[in-house]
């Protein structure tokens, strides 16, 4: 069989293919790291349907124990006055610690 490819050449070809596959995988992962918002936003709120084991263990996180999405009302309310009611509440401050 004069046209048969020698075993050493097969090894070389397979090695090149494997290296290319590894680099492609790493490049895809690094690209994903550029923009974590893609996955995060796409999956926000989806964890309630997580099935079993690992997913199941996280189903009470990220908002599943709250009841609405109106937590961001008046997000541009910097000029708004402080709330007044019969029970005055403190004006807390969020800050880094």
């Amino acid at each position: 069989m004069p046209n048969a490819i020698p075993a050493t050449r097969w090894v070389a070809i397979l090695t090149v293919v494997a290296v290319l596959a590894v680099f492609s995988f790493l490049a895809l992962r690094m690209r994903a790291g550029d923009d974590p918002s893609i996955g995060m936003l796409a999956r926000s709120g989806a964890s309630t349907s997580s099935p079993t084991t690992d997913e199941d263990a996280t189903q009470d996180l990220f908002g599943d124990d709250t009841t609405n999405d109106d937590s961001t009302t008046n997000t541009d309310a910097q000029s708004g006055s402080a709330p007044s009611s019969q029970t005055p509440s403190p004006t807390p401050t969020t800050r880094a610690s």
Binding site: D35, T52, T75
Partner: protein, 306 residues
């Protein structure tokens, strides 16, 4: 029953609890328990015991299990940017004790810091090997992985206390990670601290939900090789992240969610950070002090429809 307010020392700072009509005793006990179990500054804590255990699978208290579950979810949702498996790296960076460290001003640190760039997930992705049982009483992780409770611990404490209070009108402030519920009253105003100015950067009105801030301005030090350091690490390098953003505030439905969003936004840099905050709203503050308010999509849509 009348309004109650308590200021409690916890987690290396002070937590402030306020309820319009209710009892804070249960919430305060929960805070103390979470603090005691999750601190990495007490070798006898549950977290340190877990970190030191050579076994791969370890029985844990449900609070520790919930923390690990939250860490897994935060990492998954940020594609590894919020990574609680960097305990060894944070100690190596010089944050080994519960102290503020030698004073290093933000100006000095920014002047000495390396080139700014967005942080990236670690290729090793150790968090993918974390597992917790559905009942939160067993944890599996590769022995040797050191978990850092960090901000997720604060968020978890706030969420557990909010769950204990149930409803009504309350404010829970765990070192800046907040859970609020306005109950039947008017919305509660929450100020956002500006790390470079004396006046707030912004204020949000929340009816129910959470808000958290991640920033580099409060704990800065020189590490063992004399480079400026802080506690927010780039998972890809294990070194402090310098992204051009010094503070990120995020609104969320839970404090854990807000905490993870804020940290991921800071680590991502201004451009990607804006996208992260867009759904529920937030604030980014850059090194130059510029305040970038990101309105929630719901508010943007309401404005467009008006």
């Amino acid at each position: 029953m009348s309004a109650q307010e308590r200021v409690v020392r916890a987690m290396g700072g002070y937590a402030r609890l306020w309820v319009a009509d209710g009892d804070l005793s249960g919430a305060q006990e929960l805070l103390a328990e979470v603090d005691a179990r999750l601190t990495r500054f007490d070798p006898a804590s549950d977290l340190c015991t877990l970190n030191a255990d050579p076994a791969e699978a370890v029985a844990v208290h449900p609070i520790v299990g919930r923390f690990v579950a939250a860490a897994i979810d935060a990492a998954r949702r940020t594609r590894g940017l919020v990574d609680a498996t960097l305990g060894r790296e944070i100690v190596a960076a010089g944050y080994a004790d519960d102290w503020a460290g030698p004073a290093l001003s933000l100006d000095t640190a920014l002047g000495e810091a390396p080139r700014r760039r967005p942080a990236r997930p670690a290729l090793s992705a150790r968090w993918r090997r974390l597992w917790v049982s559905p009942d939160r009483t067993r944890v599996r992780r590769p022995p040797g992985v050191i978990l850092d409770s960090g901000g997720i611990g604060k968020g978890l404490a706030a969420d557990l206390m909010a769950g204990d209070l149930g409803g009504g009108r309350f404010v829970i402030d765990v070192l800046g990670d907040l859970r609020v519920d306005a109950g039947d009253g008017p919305a509660i105003e929450v100020a956002v601290e500006h790390p470079l100015r004396d006046e707030p950067a912004h204020a949000f009105r929340l009816r129910r939900g959470a808000i958290a801030t991640s920033g580099i301005g409060r704990r800065l030090w020189h590490d063992a090789i004399g480079e400026p350091a802080h506690h927010l690490l780039d998972p890809s390098t294990g070194r402090p992240a310098w992204t051009g953003v010094i503070s990120a505030t995020a609104v969320g439905r839970t404090a854990i969610e807000a905490e993870a969003l804020a940290k991921a936004a800071l680590l991502s840099g201004r451009q990607a950070g804006r996208r992260l905050l867009a759904r529920m709203g937030g604030v980014l503050i850059g090194e130059d002090g510029r305040v970038d308010i990101v309105p929630a999509l719901a508010v943007v849509a309401a404005r467009a429809a008006a």
